[in-house]
Structure formats: structure tokens, C-alpha cells
């Protein structure tokens, strides 16, 4: 056990699974870097260094730099998975789904069902999401609601280093196609993480705070912001439960409903664009199943329905912040 960043936790999860299982291969653009060039081998190790060190240990047969051809290598990863390999493909930014979505939602997601249960597709697609690095409109989106919409995919949103390691190992051992979302503004965040391999099951929400007054349901990076808001509110006598669903598909509906019923006051925090996102989905879930227990209207904290802006001040205004969450909780608590 030692303090590790999310970057280290993910790297460690990949290395542990590659040591354990020769069927695991990783592929993506610049995940090693320097392939065939006279410069440094493993020069890049992924755009933000997450996969650095894998190539020297496992070699180029298992750590594959791909051409900038997402259709081809995500499709190839799906095809290889159908034969029994366990590829972990890196889609550098989830915004690039536009050039390989067919391979994910029409191919990998459908094999099991449309082939009558005969196909197994143990594919993991790791991908970066989220605003906060001034990466502008085409490199900052969340988009996980789109994947959540597709039956046949599992969608994972780790909220910390401990969560990232356990959920990624689970993803690699899982026999279904899994989309694993890594927030690009969180890679340096640290916490205590065991050195050995461990798994966190999908579809089991985690309560990061437990309180009596308001239930906050938050996703991915927003769990951390919700925790910060909850800690501040606690000092003012408003105690919150924070629910981290961990996976949007499968979704732990029971825990969300139960926690909504316990306090009767709900705030949902989602960094994805507000129309048809997880906040609207969870809001519908709660109103359908726990309407009688609600003491106040549900409040959603989301970005505005705009593309993600570049300028730092505009981007700050765009992202749901701990302050916005705090204000929403106060409103719901007072209603």
C-alpha cells in the first residue's frame, strides 16, 4: 500500500493483468511512441504518460502503437476479442468516437445478442474525457451517456486512484465489452492504493459520504467535487450522502433509489451535457420509484447545453464546481 496517482494506478492495473494473462494486449496511438524511430523507445507512453513502461516490459508484440486509424484498430481489437484475446484499446480522447463508433456500438456491443449468445467479446476501450485542461470543444466532452444508451456495453467512470485500479482490473477480466472513462484532469490525484491486484465489481455503487439531509448522486470527477461540497456543508450542519455509482451501465438502481428515499432530497451532478445525460436518467429513475419519499424537487447540476469553451474563465464557468453543488444542496435542503 502506498500513495499512487490515478495515472500510476491505471498503469499498474495494466501491468499486473499483462503479467497474469498473456491474452491481454494493449494498443493505441502513441501508447509507447518512438516505434521504429531512432529516438528514444517508449518515448511518449500515451499522450499523458499513462502507458509508459509497458513496452519495455512486455515488448512491441503486446504493446502496439497503431496508426491514427481508430476505425481499423478499434475494429481489429473487437475482432481479436471475438477470437479470445483480451485487447485493451486506447481511444485517446472519447471525442474521437466519431471515427470509430460503428466498431463499438454496432459491432462489439451487438455480437453477443445478435449471435444468440455464441460470441464472447472481452474488449476494453480506455478513453479520456472531461473538461478542465483548456482542450476546447473537440477534446473535452464527456459523452458517456451515449455509450450508456447502448445495450451490450459496460460503462465505467472511476472517481479516484483506488477505484481506477480495481475497476480497470475488473474491466480486463470481464467478458463483455467495457468502455473505461478516465478524466484527463484527474491523472495526478493521489490516494492510498494497494500494490497487489484487486477488483471492484460493476453495478455496485459506493457511498463516499453518508449523511441524513441530502443525497448527492455524482459521476466520475464530480464525485470528488461532491465530496468537497459535502465536507463544507457538514460544517454548516447540512449532512450529505454522496453516491458514486462507479458504472453507468450496469447502474446500481437499488442503491440510488434507497439513498434518495432515505433523505428525500436529491441533487444529481453530471459533467455531461444536460440533455439526455445521466442526471436526467437518474432523475427519472428516482421520480418513478421514490416519488412519494421526495420532500423537494430534484436538482440537477450540469454544464450548460453548449460546447466546451477554450478560455479558462469560460471553461470554469462551464464545469459544475463544488460551489455550484453546494448552492444546489442548500436550495434543496431549504425547500
Amino acid at each position: 500500500m502506498s500513495r499512487k496517482s490515478i495515472r500510476q494506478a491505471i498503469n499498474e492495473a495494466l501491468a499486473l493483468e499483462m503479467r497474469r494473462d498473456a491474452r491481454v494486449v494493449v494498443m493505441g496511438e502513441d501508447i509507447s511512441g518512438g516505434m521504429g524511430a531512432p529516438g528514444e523507445q517508449d518515448a511518449w507512453g500515451g499522450p499523458l504518460g499513462v502507458t509508459k513502461g509497458l513496452m519495455p516490459e512486455f515488448g512491441r508484440e503486446r504493446v502496439l502503437d497503431t496508426p491514427i486509424s481508430e476505425s481499423a484498430f478499434i475494429g481489429a481489437a473487437a475482432g481479436a476479442a471475438a477470437t479470445g484475446l483480451r485487447p485493451v484499446a486506447e481511444l485517446m480522447f472519447v471525442d474521437f468516437m466519431g471515427v470509430c463508433f460503428d466498431q463499438i456500438f454496432n459491432q462489439a456491443a451487438k455480437f453477443r445478442y445478435m449471435f444468440g449468445g455464441k460470441a464472447v467479446t472481452p474488449l476494453v476501450v480506455r478513453t479520456m474525457y472531461g473538461a478542465g485542461l483548456s482542450a476546447a470543444s473537440q477534446h473535452s466532452q464527456c459523452l458517456y451517456p451515449i455509450f450508456t444508451h447502448i445495450p451490450g456495453l459496460k460503462v465505467v467512470l472511476p472517481s479516484s486512484a483506488y477505484e481506477a485500479k480495481g475497476l480497470l482490473i475488473q474491466a480486463i477480466r470481464d467478458d463483455d465489452p467495457v468502455i473505461f472513462f478516465e478524466h484527463k484532469a484527474m491523472y495526478d490525484e493521489e490516494e492510498e492504493v494497494p500494490d497487489e491486484a484487486y477488483t471492484i465489481p460493476f453495478g455496485e455503487a459506493n457511498l463516499t459520504r453518508e449523511g441524513d439531509d441530502v443525497t448527492i448522486v455524482a459521476f466520475g470527477r464530480m464525485v470528488q467535487f461532491a465530496n468537497q461540497a459535502a465536507d463544507k456543508l457538514e460544517k454548516d450542519g447540512i449532512s450529505c450522502t454522496v453516491v458514486d455509482p462507479r458504472t453507468t451501465s450496469p447502474l446500481d438502481e437499488d442503491t440510488i433509489i434507497e439513498m434518495a428515499e432515505e433523505t428525500g432530497r436529491v441533487v444529481i451532478v453530471d459533467e455531461a451535457s444536460p440533455r439526455c445525460n445521466m442526471a436526467t436518467d437518474v432523475s427519472a429513475l428516482i421520480t418513478q420509484n421514490a416519488f412519494g419519499a421526495l420532500k423537494a424537487p430534484i436538482k440537477m447540476v450540469t454544464p450548460p447545453h453548449t460546447p466546451v469553451p477554450f478560455a479558462a474563465d469560460l471553461e470554469r464557468a462551464y464545469i459544475p464546481s463544488p460551489e455550484k453543488i453546494e448552492a444546489a444542496v442548500r436550495e434543496v435542503a431549504a425547500a
Binding site: V25, E61, L64, T66, P67, S69, S71, A72, F73, I74, G75, A76, A77, A78, G79, A80, A81, A82, T83, G84, L85, P87, D102, Q103, N106, Q107, K110, F111, R112, Y113, M114, F115, G116, G117, K118, A119, V120, P151, G152, K154, D174, D175, D176, G203, P250
Partner: protein
């Protein structure tokens, strides 16, 4: 809706006049043995009779949804299958019944899938376009044009990674050849020297658009040139020519020389699907191919001219094949509908 021109397919009607005249006295020269020719005749006839029956059942409302018949193209999969090793993989698009039968899948299971029944290969959840049989190394019929290219490239990658000498034969059509992921896949397959044969079944029409109207360079076997992938074009109405070209292509991959593009010139007699208006080409064009280049009549003529079989023997084979197809059709109609609970199963392996 069945096409009006369905009534007399070559192979079903009285012997079509032999247009490829063999030598009058000497048996025609071919690289195949009489036994092989008989085997190909039977295999192609099975596909044709199966497809005729499927078309008929579609017209009667016993098969629904999309249904893309392979009639006219039988020599392609039959020739390629004859060149495959036991463990080589196959993946294709949605015009896939012929590929399934050629790979040895049970006609009863295929028909029961067309009718959407419990005993279909996909338990009634895939239909005409979506069946999968790992035990036959058949990795599916896929409905999105071009998708088989990247998936097949991945199957080839897995074979290379495992260090075996298996080849993946990846079929798609002249329409799919214009999809971007095909070019991306070519580049990656060449870069990684993957054992994949891309077979472009050029049946001249992408739905209703002629290849000359959709494609700047109509010599599709040249599509790999920019990536250093060798290519060859062959007559897809001649099963032995297809087999020999496929042997060469597969041998290239087996020797770890990287991918290969094989363009097979063929022709589909029926529409793109069952709802094809059939107005983009003339009936004369279709009839001309059927009477002059039919792949089954071609082998029939070789067999008779070579003295391997007479009309009566070939009729007997036809009777046996028809019995198999009738059995499959009965099976497809008698198999129960899927259990209603099937709606919810196999979305994921584990919840």
C-alpha cells in the same frame, strides 16, 4: 417479395445451352480432378437450392426482415473454401448464407435462423445477416458495409499474435471497397504483416449503383497497391479459377508475407435484397450472364464433357441436394418460436 425472374434459374431448368464449348472430342482441361469437380458441383448446387427455397419462403411470408440472396455468386465461396485450411477463419458481410453453407454450417440451423426460430444459429435473434459459428471458424455475417474488413484484420492479428499459421479470409463487396475503414485496415494489415486475404466479391452493383458509377478505379484488386499489398483479379464464375487464385492468396499469407487482395468478378442474379426494384439493369443483361456464364452450368458441362457424370447422375445429386434443402425448410418452419424470455438474455455475459 420475390423477383419475377426467379422462375427459371440455370441449374433448375432444362440444361442451358453450353456456351463455353469444350473441345468436341478431348475432355476439357481444368486444374481440378473429376472428384473435386463433383464436390464443387454439389456444394454450389446446395447454396443455389437453399437460396431459391429461401426466396420462395420469403415470398410466402415465412421469412421476414432483410434477406440478401447469393444466387449467381456460388463459385466464389465454393472455390475459396476449397483452398482453405481446416483452421482458417472466415468473416463476411450480410449476403452470407452461401458462406455459412460453404463453411459446413448446418443448413437446418441456417434456415431456422432465417425463419427466426429457436433452433436457428442465433436462436432467432440475428436473422439472415447475423450468424456465428466458432466451431466452423465462421466469425459472422455483419450488417454494416465495410465492418468485416477491420474485424477480419483483428482476427488475423490474433492469429499472428498466437504464432499459428492460420489465415483469416475477409469477404466484402465492391460497395464496401469504398468505405474508409477498409483503407485503414489495409494500411494496418500491411504495416503489421497480418495473415489476411481480403476477398472483394465484385458483383458489379452496390445495391443499385453500378461499380462504374461509384468507383473511380474499378480495378479493385489494385486497391492495396498504395500499401504494398499484392492483388489479383479472377473470374468468379469459374470455381476452379477462384480456388486456384485463393490458393495463391492464402499461400502468400501462410508464408507470412502479409495481406493479399483478391478481387473476384461475379454477378448476383437476384436483387440486392428482397425489396430491390430491379430497374437499374436490364433483364437482358441478367439473362445473358445466366445463360453464358453460370458457374453451376459451367461445372456441369465440364463433368459431362469429361465423362465424369451423365445427366442422370447430376440429376440424382440435385435430388439429394433438394432433399437436404427441403429438410432444412421443414426444420425452419417446425422449430418453435423463441421463448419470450429470450428478449432479455445474452445482452451481456454478466450483469
Amino acid at each position: 417479395m420475390t423477383s419475377k425472374s426467379a422462375a427459371s434459374e440455370p441449374g433448375t431448368s432444362k440444361p442451358a445451352p453450353a456456351k463455353r464449348k469444350a473441345g468436341v472430342s478431348a475432355p476439357p482441361k481444368t486444374g481440378a480432378t473429376p472428384e473435386e469437380l463433383l464436390e464443387y458441383f454439389r456444394a454450389m448446387l446446395l447454396i443455389r437450392r437453399f437460396e431459391e427455397k429461401a426466396g420462395q419462403m420469403y415470398g410466402m411470408g415465412l421469412i421476414g426482415g432483410f434477406c440478401h440472396l447469393y444466387i449467381g455468386q456460388e463459385a466464389v465461396v465454393t472455390g475459396v473454401q476449397a483452398a482453405l485450411g481446416e483452421n482458417d477463419a472466415i468473416i463476411t458481410t450480410y449476403r452470407d448464407h452461401g458462406h455459412m453453407l460453404a463453411s459446413g454450417m448446418d443448413p437446418r440451423g441456417v434456415m431456422a435462423e432465417l425463419t427466426g426460430r429457436r433452433d436457428g444459429y442465433s436462436r432467432g435473434k440475428g436473422g439472415s445477416m447475423h450468424m456465428f459459428a466458432r466451431e466452423r471458424n465462421f466469425y459472422g455475417g455483419h450488417g454494416i458495409v465495410g465492418a468485416s474488413a477491420s474485424l477480419g484484420t483483428g482476427i488475423a492479428f490474433a492469429n499472428r499474435y498466437r504464432g499459428n499459421d492460420q489465415v483469416c479470409v475477409t469477404y466484402f463487396g465492391d460497395g464496401a471497397a469504398n468505405q474508409g475503414q477498409v483503407f485503414e485496415s489495409f494500411n494496418m494489415a500491411a504495416l503489421w504483416s497480418l495473415p489476411v486475404v481480403y476477398i472483394i466479391e465484385n458483383n458489379q452493383y452496390a445495391m443499385g449503383t453500378a461499380v462504374t458509377r461509384s468507383t473511380a478505379q474499378t480495378k479493385l484488386y489494385k486497391r492495396g497497391e498504395a500499401f504494398g499489398i499484392p492483388g489479383q483479379q479472377t473470374d468468379g464464375m469459374d470455381v476452379v479459377a477462384v480456388r486456384d487464385a485463393a490458393r495463391k492468396a492464402i499461400g502468400h499469407c501462410r508464408k507470412k508475407k502479409g495481406p493479399y487482395v483478391l478481387e473476384v468478378l461475379t454477378y448476383r442474379y437476384r436483387g440486392h435484397s428482397m425489396s430491390d426494384p430491379a430497374k437499374y439493369r436490364t433483364r437482358e443483361e441478367v439473362n445473358k450472364v445466366r445463360s453464358e456464364r453460370d458457374p453451376i452450368d459451367h461445372v456441369r458441362e465440364l463433368l459431362i464433357a469429361g465423362g465424369t457424370a451423365d445427366e442422370a447422375a447430376l440429376k440424382e445429386i440435385d435430388r439429394e441436394v433438394k432433399a437436404l434443402v427441403t429438410e432444412a425448410a421443414d426444420f425452419g418452419q417446425q422449430s418453435p418460436e423463441p421463448d419470450p424470455a429470450e428478449l432479455y438474455t445474452d445482452v451481456l455475459m454478466t450483469l
